[in-house]
């Protein structure tokens, strides 16, 4: 009798504890097993970017009026601050991966050396990549006012009055001086961000929205396809890619940019912003790709 009761009690215990446990363990094993085949484990490496700023094929020299642009303006450089976002690695077969899982952007500031390096957190599948592209600045849907509250990114603020709901931050501030036609050293603020629709006289255009009239804005971000950015990534390796901004190119192609014509500030001049945008397409090159 005792044996029977013990058996019953044990049976009940096994049913209530071990069977559910077994089911859970089996389930976990199944899930783990689902990941175990070698063919399905992502084999990854890492990407790190370095950023450098050059003028006429040499490292940019700051605070010295030693350059002359295509328009003949003597000019000097004070600082460059800009955003890169949605970096994308493209394969020859059309597949691509966007490096935006951990963060979708990086801020670069020539006054803050640490910003000249970006170790991307996202693991990247190994393999051969045909080329790299990125967004200069931010796509409109990303560029929300107040998305940055801390410096230095917050200092790239672009006024709501000039950019609306999709123009919260400068894409770039490139500041310096040029000598005008009277040989006076004057500051220029070569800034890019969201522009405003304007009539032929440069007056801003409003549209009726419900009871209110609102300004309409022009997105000036652009996609950069980096030439000669082919590379192969091996398992557990870090590929270090150096992106170079060739600053003189902002003033050179396809439009010759004359500071005397455009003046020192451009944030309310969509024609100038469009010119800067179009000059930006070929500003960037890859100067080196190597294993770290």
């Amino acid at each position: 009798m005792k044996q029977i009761l013990v058996t019953i009690a044990l049976g009940a215990f096994v049913k209530s504890v071990f069977i559910p446990l077994g089911v859970i363990i089996a389930g976990l094993s199944f899930m783990a097993g689902d990941c175990t085949p070698d063919t399905l484990i992502p084999v990854t490496g890492k990407i790190a970017f370095k950023f450098e700023h050059f003028v006429n094929n040499d490292t940019a020299v700051f605070d010295k009026m030693i350059y002359t642009n295509e328009a003949g303006n003597p000019w000097e450089l004070t600082l460059v601050q800009w955003f890169i976002s949605d970096v994308t690695l493209h394969k020859k077969n059309g597949d691509s991966v966007v490096l935006n899982k951990w963060t979708f952007y990086h801020y670069i500031d020539t006054d803050i050396p640490s910003t000249l390096n970006w170790d991307v957190v996202d693991p990247v599948d190994t393999g051969t990549y045909d080329h790299i592209s990125f967004i200069f600045g931010f796509k409109g849907e990303r560029n929300k006012p107040f998305m940055f509250v801390n410096p230095p990114e917050s200092q790239m603020f672009w006024p709501y009055y000039l950019g609306g709901d999709s123009g919260g931050y400068h894409y770039m501030k490139l500041n310096g001086f040029w000598k005008d036609l009277n040989n006076i050293r004057r500051g220029y603020n070569f800034h890019l961000g969201v522009g405003q629709y304007q009539d032929v006289n440069g007056n801003r255009i409003k549209v009726k929205q419900g009871d209110d009239s609102t300004f309409i804005f022009v997105q000036n971000w652009f996609k950069v396809d980096l030439p000669s950015s082919f590379f192969s990534l091996q398992k557990d390796k870090t590929k270090e890619i150096t992106i170079r901004m060739n600053i003189e190119s902002w003033f050179k192609t396809p439009h010759v940019y004359d500071h005397n014509y455009w003046g020192p500030d451009v944030m309310e001049n969509q024609r100038a912003l469009k010119t800067i945008k179009e000059n930006g397409f070929d500003v960037f090159t890859v100067s080196s790709i190597k294993d770290r």
Partner: protein, 421 residues
């Protein structure tokens, strides 16, 4: 029978308990022990303090507060700091004509700046407590900076930004303060020893000031206030500086008409105010590049804003960085409450907002270190029309936060009696 079954069933489970439950218990106890062992490494205050919450009505619009890890804000710490901030005996003196507190110069009604109408410093020119060398008091090298929203500043304090987390220096031979760790130059706490010891401020010594606070037995009862803030009655310079810094960090101004408009709590600005806003936030006035953070109204960065072409100030940004391009360069202060904080600029040269606007409109002075943001330098400035200046000033006045100015939490405690009021 039923009872027997139960007993037998339990008996049968005993081996299982031995094999499974007891080891699990031991492991669990071990983990708990390890956890409690870890807890002992983080000292738990034996007294109760209440964390102080920095107000930020627009939530995630405000920067991360800049609060040192070794001085978390508590209600008790802020309360103590408020008494110390307003206590003239911190200067180490009892005589009414020579007592000086932080609040002597930093008046709430002037957004914690000295103001033009300060009874002790008419015209806003502050000076230290007199001594044999300076019978009338030594003038402070610079006019005052705003003492508000400092908790959101990550770019250094003072006009040249020398008080910064990266500054490794300790003490000051000129102030006769030794190079000890508590006399650092890293944050708001650092400004307390400087204020006490500088000949052009309280002109005291750390020892004299701390001893004076120790000697005060009532109104307030500092022993009780220190015990509430720090767990015991010990009064030290370190605790004094931390408490004052906590109070200063609590001085957050966010409720101006402009802020309420940005938060959409009020539907619109007056037409002239809005026109002024468009001047401020566009290239026409171009105030926003330096004073542009939409809630702080400053970048907290440093610029040569075209005041001079010859630089002989030994306390400009260059004095700290040694970068020649920083000669004549100073911090851009917040413009919140700007209508209350005259005189303006580091040397107080402008007495009215109109004079300041005139400066940026027509009076910029070119130099080798002029900031490129002063881009209309060839014309002397932005060349605003008189009506545009009126509108810009109307907008600047929307930055006044009367709720802050009249907030009793920031005023002199009613029961503080220094024997001089």
């Amino acid at each position: 029978m039923k009872r027997l079954k139960l007993i037998l069933g339990i008996s049968a489970i005993i081996p299982l308990i031995k094999i499974v439950i007891i080891p699990l218990g031991i492991i669990s106890a071990g983990i708990s022990f390890m956890a409690s062992d870890c807890d002992t490494t983080t000292p738990t205050p034996p007294w109760h303090t209440t964390p102080y919450q920095i107000p930020s009505p627009s939530g995630n619009w405000w920067p991360t507060p800049n609060i040192p890890a070794d001085n978390p804000m508590t209600v008790e710490g802020v309360t103590l700091g408020r008494y110390l901030f307003y206590d003239g005996r911190l200067s180490g003196r009892l005589e009414c004509d020579s007592q000086m507190s932080c609040g002597t110069c930093h008046l709430q009604k002037n957004s914690f700046e000295v103001g033009m109408d300060n009874p002790r410093f008419p015209g806003g020119r502050t000076k230290g407590i007199p001594d044999a060398q300076y019978p009338n008091g030594k003038y402070t090298p610079h006019y005052m900076l705003p003492l508000i929203n400092l908790v959101f500043n990550h770019n250094g304090y003072l006009w040249n930004g020398m008080i910064h987390s990266s500054n490794p220096n300790l003490g000051s031979a000129a102030y006769k303060v030794p190079a000890l760790p508590q006399y650092h130059m890293k944050n708001i706490e650092s400004l307390v020893w400087m204020g006490i010891a500088a000949q052009h401020e309280m002109n005291s010594t750390i020892e004299k000031s701390v001893n004076m606070i120790k000697s005060i037995k009532s109104k307030p009862n500092y022993a009780e206030l220190f015990k509430a803030a720090y767990g015991d009655e010990e009064i030290t310079y370190d605790r004094i500086s931390k408490a004052i810094a906590q109070f200063v960090r609590s001085l957050v101004s966010y409720n101006s008409k402009y802020h309420k408009w940005v938060r959409r709590e009020i539907p619109k600005l007056e037409p002239n105010e809005y026109r002024g806003y468009t001047i401020y936030m566009s290239e026409k006035g171009d105030c926003f590049h330096c004073h542009g953070d939409p809630v702080l109204l400053t970048t907290n960065l440093f610029y040569n804003n075209g005041l001079d072409s010859i630089f002989n100030d030994t306390r400009d940004r260059y004095a700290y960085t040694k970068n020649p391009m920083d000669k004549g360069v100073y911090k851009a202060p917040t413009l919140i409450n700007i209508e209350l904080t005259a005189p303006y600029m580091h040397d107080g040269r402008y007495k009215t907002l109109r004079e300041v606007v005139d400066h940026y409109s027509e009076q910029l002075v070119n130099s080798t270190t002029i900031d490129p943001l002063m881009k209309w330098i060839a014309y002397g400035g932005t060349q605003l029309k008189e009506s545009e200046k009126d509108d810009l000033i109307a907008f600047l006045k929307t930055l006044t936060d009367w709720d802050f100015i009249n907030n009793p939490a920031f005023s002199k405690p009613a029961d503080l009696d220094t024997g001089c009021d």
